[in-house]
């Protein structure tokens, strides 16, 4: 209307002249004036008509846009939901093994994508997102296809791992598109309403203008009032008709709008400025379970969660103050059945709109989305198997604790289960998982609610202790953790204790870095492993140095067998009564290029841990057999020497050990009964059934079996009867006690007697004094070994000793005389 009035032009100028004295003008220049007036009128009416049409087109177009946008918004909600559900399906795939379910879910997602393509196709952003998601889905299809032929748990786990980034990427793409489109949707809503309002004003204004022009025409033609009035009336009637048509159009558009609102899955509510509810759309029945009529005129806050009410009241009050559409706000609402759901609401302020005079609230149930969001966040920060925090969350907590100044010290515990790989390999991954879950549960049982337990991956756990007074109390927790883990754990009908190595590092808030603290705890944990496992260590700066050395040693150890850096030393075993060398024990040394000769404790545990014991053990076995055979050939007159070789627990677990022994015997041409394999007591306790079978196999080859360091390990003696043992080697600790006091001597006596009872051959280790030898001989112990007779000797020295002691068809040591002398006294 204003646009029309501002329109300049000669035609209107003349009209005004005409209205000043239309009658005279008409009379005087009837022909040309009427023509001009007619022209002006036609132009005016055409302009008005064009504007009416434009207003009408505007209304229909914005309504159509609004409708399209709302469908796209709906399709986007659906496609997001399917994507989130597919994500859940994939996450659960390793446990559910429901490949078909995942495929159906994936097809449903594809269908929603097709719908979205149909509704929103052509929009560059929608097309780009669909193309991106299609790409992600292809990766998922490939993974599903790979899993289909053999859907084992391991395979599904691996493929689910590959699918996870693809589906997450798809979810993020869709969420971004939704966020961008959501604004478009509410933008379209407010544009549609604004356009309709201004178009209505325009129509009213235009009709007024037409009325004025009509009247002016009537006045200007007063001489022919009747005729012209009839025409003016006709024009007016037509105008009124036209107005009615326009109104009908507006009403039609309003009806479309209302039907849209009613069919929308969102709840549309209209609230008065004073807060009373005036209207709820039909959809509230589905969303909240109420009949729209029973809520109208009620307090809108009555359905809101009490904790959220203040916020909601503020939201409504603020929306009433400002025109336009608010940002989305979420809160909880009560369903008629008493459950709570998360709603997301947008308010449009239409208080000024004469048709509404209220706030239009658009409320949507976003419980599914909230729940899935919460689930995704939980998954991102927690370990799926045990539910403990994951590395990301743990590191964050440590950083947070360090940033919180003035709260006392804090401690980080690193826990690594000992020999977990063994459980996994022998009992299967499912059993391994059960063990991890049990360990996690026990770990949490040891902690205060303020502490954090985490699984860092594999069999590695960590604990954050906040506000520890000193390192002592952290050690207390460490000890408690070990004790709790020790409680036997039933698994597949077996009872196994959980053992772990634990490293403790303490930090000062404000002074230490999280990364350093974690590394220190890790280093301390490695120190505990290196120190013999099943223990804890407090971090000490020296450990870094130790660790470095260890790593270096570890690298060198990898090549020790091929680089000829291993040597064997031999220590004679002597018949106590005669002083004759009957056996030798082969002892491995590492001839380290810079560190010199290293004894077994310096590198064997490391080799066992790193899985390098196989090649070393095999080398020792073969060398010892070859050397024994060589001595046999060198001293054909003496009875052949038996050679003793130590076996580690790890070697005994290996299936190939038996084959290696056979090979060593064949290659050296050594008689099996001249080979004695020494094993420690602790090895036997680990897995009685498997060990018993392995020992029987070895025994079947004809070799002898000896228990090394007897008396230091487990007190149960039952295994002595269960295993095919030939010989006991009495530990130096008992030998040392002989002659020192009555009790110690009695202990040594008891052990020798026990082995007699079991008809076992006895060897006393670590004999240093002639008296000890004499005592043992008197007790009935057959053989002895120790510095009294000889230290472990290199091959050359040993051969020399044999050569010099060769007499009377045997190797007699001069020290034998000392034994006899002591025995005599």
């Amino acid at each position: 209307m204003t646009g029309l009035l501002r329109r300049p032009g000669p035609a209107r100028g003349r009209t005004r002249t005409g209205t000043a004295d239309p009658g005279r003008v008409l009379r005087r220049r009837r022909g040309p004036l009427q023509l001009a007036l007619g022209g002006v009128l036609v132009v005016l009416i055409l302009v008005v008509e064009a504007l009416i049409l434009q207003a009408y087109v505007n209304i229909s177009r914005t309504t159509a846009i609004f409708k399209d946008e709302s469908y796209v918004a709906g399709a986007l909600v659906n496609v997001q939901r399917e994507a989130l559900l597919l994500n859940v399906e994939i996450e659960e795939l390793p446990t559910s093994r429901d490949l078909r379910g995942a495929q159906v879910r994936r097809a449903l997602l594809a269908n929603q994508l097709n719908q979205l393509r149909g509704l929103g196709g052509g929009d560059a952003m929608v097309d780009a997102t669909i193309m991106g998601v299609d790409g992600d889905l292809r990766l998922i299809d490939q993974a599903l296809a790979r899993a289909r032929p053999a859907p084992t748990a391991a395979r599904l786990r691996a493929e689910a791992e590959r699918m996870r980034p693809a589906i997450r990427r798809a979810i993020v793409r869709l969420k971004q598109l939704y966020d961008a489109k959501e604004q478009g949707f509410f933008g379209a809503l407010s544009t549609a309403l604004n356009t309709r309002r201004s178009s209505e004003r325009l129509l009213v204004g235009l009709s007024g203008l037409v009325l004025i022009v009509g009247l002016a025409l009537a006045l200007s033609l007063r001489q022919r009032v009747r005729k012209d009035f009839a025409r003016a009336y006709q024009a007016l009637t037509a105008e009124v008709e036209e107005r009615k048509a326009a109104e009908r159009a507006v009403r039609a558009s309003e009806e479309r709008f209302r039907s849209l609102v009613q069919n929308s899955s969102d709840v549309i509510s209209i609230v008065d400025a004073d807060g009373g509810v005036r209207y709820h759309s039909e959809s509230i029945r589905r969303v909240l379970g109420y009949d729209p009529a029973e809520l109208v005129d009620g307090d809108p806050l009555s359905l809101v969660h009490p904790d959220d009410r203040e916020r909601v009241a503020r939201f409504v009050a603020e929306a009433a103050l400002r025109p336009g559409v608010t940002a989305a706000e979420t809160w909880r609402m009560r369903h008629r059945d008493g459950t709570w759901l998360h709603s997301e609401t947008v308010a449009a302020n239409l208080l000024e709109d004469p048709n509404v005079r209220g706030l239009v609230l658009n409320t949507r149930d976003v419980s599914d989305r909230k729940e899935l969001e919460a689930q995704l966040v939980h998954q991102a920060f927690h370990d799926g198997l045990t539910g403990l925090a994951n590395r990301t969350l743990f590191t964050e907590r440590v950083e947070l604790a360090l940033a919180r100044a003035g709260q006392g010290e804090l401690a980080v515990l690193f826990i690594d289960l000992d020999d977990f790989k063994h459980v996994n390999d022998s009992l299967g991954h499912a059993a391994g998982d059960q063990l991890l879950i049990a360990a996690a549960r026990r770990l949490q049982g040891c902690l205060r609610p303020t502490d954090t337990a985490a699984r860092l991956g594999g069999d590695e756990f960590a604990v954050l202790l906040e506000r520890v007074t000193d390192a002592e109390s952290a050690s207390g927790v460490a000890g408690r953790v070990l004790d709790t883990l020790h409680q036997p754990f039933g698994l597949n009908g077996r009872t196994i204790p959980i053992k772990a190595s634990l490293g403790v590092a303490t930090g000062q808030p404000g002074a230490d870095e999280a990364e350093e603290l974690l590394r220190n705890a890790d280093v301390a944990m490695y120190a505990a492993k290196a120190g013999g496992k099943d223990r804890y260590e407090l971090f000490h700066p020296d450990m870094h140095e130790d660790m470095l050395q260890r790593l270096e040693l570890e690298a060198e150890l990898r090549h020790v067998a091929d680089r000829d850096q291993l040597v064997l030393h031999y220590q004679p075993i002597v018949e106590l009564v005669s002083g004759r060398i009957t056996r030798v024990e082969a002892l491995v040394r590492w001839d380290h290029p810079t560190k010199g000769l290293l004894p077994p404790p310096a590198f064997i545990p490391l080799a066992e841990e790193q899985g390098l014991i196989g090649p070393i053990g095999n080398w020792v076995l073969l060398q010892a057999c070859v050397q024994a055979r060589r001595w046999q050939d060198q001293f054909p007159d003496a009875p052949p020497l038996s050679v003793h070789v130590n076996l580690s627990g790890r070697q005994l677990e290996e299936q190939r050990l038996v084959g290696e022994v056979v090979q060593a015997l064949e290659m050296s041409r050594l008689s099996p009964r001249l080979l004695t394999l020494e094993i420690t007591e602790s090895v036997l306790v680990a897995d009685i059934e498997a060990m018993s079978a392995r020992l029987r196999e070895l025994k079947g080859l004809g070799v002898l079996l000896a228990i090394d360091d007897f008396g230091t390990g487990y007190s149960s003696l039952s295994y002595l009867r269960r295993f095919p043992i030939d010989m006991l080697k009495i530990d130096k600790a008992f030998v040392d006690g002989i002659g020192r006091g009555r009790e110690d001597t009695a202990l040594a006596h008891a052990i020798v007697k026990l082995s007699h009872t079991l008809q076992l051959h006895t060897v006393a280790e670590g004999i240093e004094q002639a008296e000890q030898a004499a005592h043992l001989a008197a007790l009935g112990c057959r053989d002895g070994q120790g510095y009294l007779f000889a230290r472990p000797l290199p091959v050359g020295a040993m051969t020399e000793l044999l050569a010099t002691s060769m007499a009377d068809g045997g190797f007699y040591l001069p020290a034998a005389t000392a034994v006899e002398a002591a025995a005599a006294t």
């Binding site: 007619g38 009408y56 939901r81 399917e82 449903l108 269908n111 022919r224 025409r231 006709q234 008709e241």
Partner: protein
């Protein structure tokens, strides 16, 4: 003068006529087209009401439960595509609201299916649930009057899940319910009668 006013009046009348026609055309395109088709029977089928329905051999696409007289598994009726297509088959060309084009569907009238499942006259509601848990309730009376179709084929082809299949509800152009796209439930998996 009479000559000069005439074009004005003529122009006014013409303009109004154009505006009125514009409105009418708009309404016409929203409403059902004048030559909207109705379901045509393709094949009377072998499975009619009152006959025994054998257990499905193929994959079950629809599980019917609730207030039904015919059942083939416990108290439920399981149907595969083959058994559905043994019933009276109809063809329907209609405007698909999501694809926004005309599609020729083939399938079973939902009212026929109710008869085969031996749904008593006392039943009032049919609840359909889709694979994605979307749910729509129909009144039994509406099912009978609207001629809604449980479609198994679109343009002569079976529909996979990612093309809104394997079965979906479609409406003839003439049905007023069909104008609400929310009722066009696709990937229907189960039906409960109450």
């Amino acid at each position: 003068m009479g000559r000069s006013i005439r074009p004005v009046v003529v122009a006014l009348v013409m303009a109004l006529a154009v505006a009125a026609c514009g409105g009418k055309q708009e309404e016409a395109s929203q409403a059902a087209g004048p030559n909207a088709s109705s379901p045509q029977v393709v094949d009377d089928g072998t499975l009619a009401a009152g006959e025994e329905i054998s257990s499905p051999k193929g994959e079950v696409v629809l599980t019917v439960s609730g207030d039904i007289g015919a059942a083939n598994k416990g108290k439920t009726l399981e149907l595969d595509l083959a058994s559905l297509e043994q019933m009276r088959r109809v063809r329907l060309e209609t405007a698909e609201p999501f694809l926004k084009r005309r599609v020729t569907f083939e399938g079973v009238l939902l009212s026929d299916l109710l008869a085969v499942a031996d749904v008593p006259d006392t039943a009032s509601t049919v609840s359909l649930t889709a694979l994605d848990d979307y749910k729509v309730d129909f009144k039994v009376a509406d099912v009978r009057s609207s001629q809604m179709l449980l479609a198994t084929k679109a343009d002569g082809k079976h529909m996979p899940v990612d093309r809104s299949g394997p079965i979906r509800i479609v409406f003839p152009d003439s049905s007023s319910m069909g104008r609400n796209p929310d009722l066009w439930i696709w990937s229907v998996a189960s039906m409960k009668v109450a």
